[in-house]
Amino acid sequence: MTKNQNIPERPPLLEVHDLTKNYGARTGCADVSFNLFPGEVMGIVGESGSGKSTLLNCLAGQLEADSGAVMFDTRADGPRDTRLMSEAERRMLGRTDWAFVHQNPRDGLRMRISAGGNVGERLMAVGARHYGDIRSAAEDWLTRVEIATDRMDDRPAAFSGGMQQRLQIARNLVTGPRLVFMDEPTGGLDVSVQARLLDLLRGLVRRMGLSAIIVTHDLAVVRLLADRLMVMKDGRVVETGLTDQVLDDPQHAYTQLLVASVLQV
């Protein structure tokens, strides 16, 4: 194939080989392989029970896969299989280069400490000690996710769902991760709040050059955010490709059904 001369070929940030996870006799996800390149945003879609969340959790090390490899291009030592890392190494990765945005902000936030504390805590976990620096970084990030700085000392419990979700994003991105995992980031939010959050996420991802893997059942969300798509059914990948191509010219029977089932507004 002819290569475009303008793209310097960078190694994949994440290389996944034959990742499999079973729950007893049931398949969670089976034989999933793909490469994710720096700056790429990949969407994983499929109905409930298709294995997309299982896959995301296995990739992020929140669930232990049965077999396969998840190679991450680490800053220090190049590509390493995160499944073979020590627990301490994996936790460090989870605080620095990786971020995980949960569907329910309560799973990703500390509800009993202030909004500013939630953002600052992640900075402290990577060694920040100067109170003034931490507070100004927290302030900066709250502004970027459109939370007024006079709410900085309030607890997230006093925030609306949309604000909590934006706070969770600030907490995750403050350490400048290279790879963000998102599980239904707009699930459970009002449509108007979703649009604002999507616009925000899109801007952040593009500006910071992040790579991201987004699990969702909402095809409109992936059309806006994802460069490419992976469609899952019964734990297996049935179709992959450029996002608009998969949505506008789906090849697999299941993808055709999925696309045809969306209500037109």
């Binding site: 194939m1 002819t2 290569k3 475009n4 303008n6 793209i7 390149f37 790429e40 649009a195 604002r196 999507l198 616009d199 899109r202 806006l224 460069d227 490419r228 490709g241 450029l242 996002t243 608009d244 191509q245 506008d248 010219d249 090849q251 697999h252 029977a253 055709q256 059904l257 045809a260």
Partner: protein, 227 residues
């Protein structure tokens, strides 16, 4: 600049009894830099399908499409996205934007994406929006609330903002008033003068006669029809 060889396309409708609808067979044509080729043929002949395949939006079953030396068939998503950013523009009839993003930003984005300065990108966006008669009072608003005609012109401004070496135009002058139609035709002529290879669908016969150098009848590539 644009080369199409042996292109074949059919749609398989898995959920309607696996019906296979053949659309194109052995479609072939080339477009040189600075040349505008108009696709013609009856409605349903597959003109839009060809455009979408050229843009990487539809998958072809057979043949090859090469644009600016990049082979689109079987290309990785990131290869196609880079091609769209740097080489290949597309003006469709419908605007699809992120809610909340101001019009000026929507139009400036293609230039920003190729690494131009904010100032240069915004200057170009302002220039195009004025030429296409979008009132300046609307520039800071999201185009989602605009009238159909205004949205179409914003879309055209966005499509012409960056000087792509290859450009796809799907009925760029449809339903425009004579003044704006004239602006769009001169934008096409400028793009040609800048060396862009252009493929277009023009139902507007006068417009086609004015900007197109050649016509390619897509009806010739309808399967089952002896050439």
């Amino acid at each position: 600049m644009i080369e199409v060889e042996g292109l074949g396309k059919n749609f398989t409708l898995h959920n309607q009894g696996g019906a296979v609808i053949p659309v194109l067979e052995d479609a072939h044509f080339t477009v040189a830099p600075g040349e505008c080729v108009a696709l013609t043929g009856a409605s349903g002949a597959g003109k839009s399908t060809v455009m979408r395949i050229l843009y990487g939006n539809y998958l072809a079953q057979a043949g090859r499409v090469t644009i600016g030396g990049v082979d689109l068939t079987g290309a990785e998503p990131r290869t196609i996205l880079t091609l769209r950013r740097q080489t290949l523009g597309y003006v469709s009839q419908f605007l699809r934007v992120v809610p909340r993003v101001p019009t000026l930003q929507v139009v400036a984005e293609p230039c920003l994406a190729t690494g131009q300065s904010e100032e240069a990108a915004v200057t170009r966006a302002r220039d195009l929006l004025s030429r296409l008669n979008i009132p300046e009072t609307l520039w800071s608003l999201s185009p989602t609330t605009f009238s159909g005609g205004e949205q179409q012109r914003v879309n055209i401004a966005r499509g012409f903002a960056y000087t792509y070496p290859a450009l796809l135009l799907d009925e760029p002058t449809a339903s425009l008033d004579p003044v704006n139609r004239e602006v769009v035709l001169s934008l096409i002529e400028e793009a040609k003068a800048n060396g862009a290879a252009i493929v277009g669908i023009f139902h507007d016969v006068e417009a086609r006669a004015r900007v197109a150098d050649r016509e390619v009848d897509i009806g010739r590539f309808t399967p089952g029809r002896a050439a």
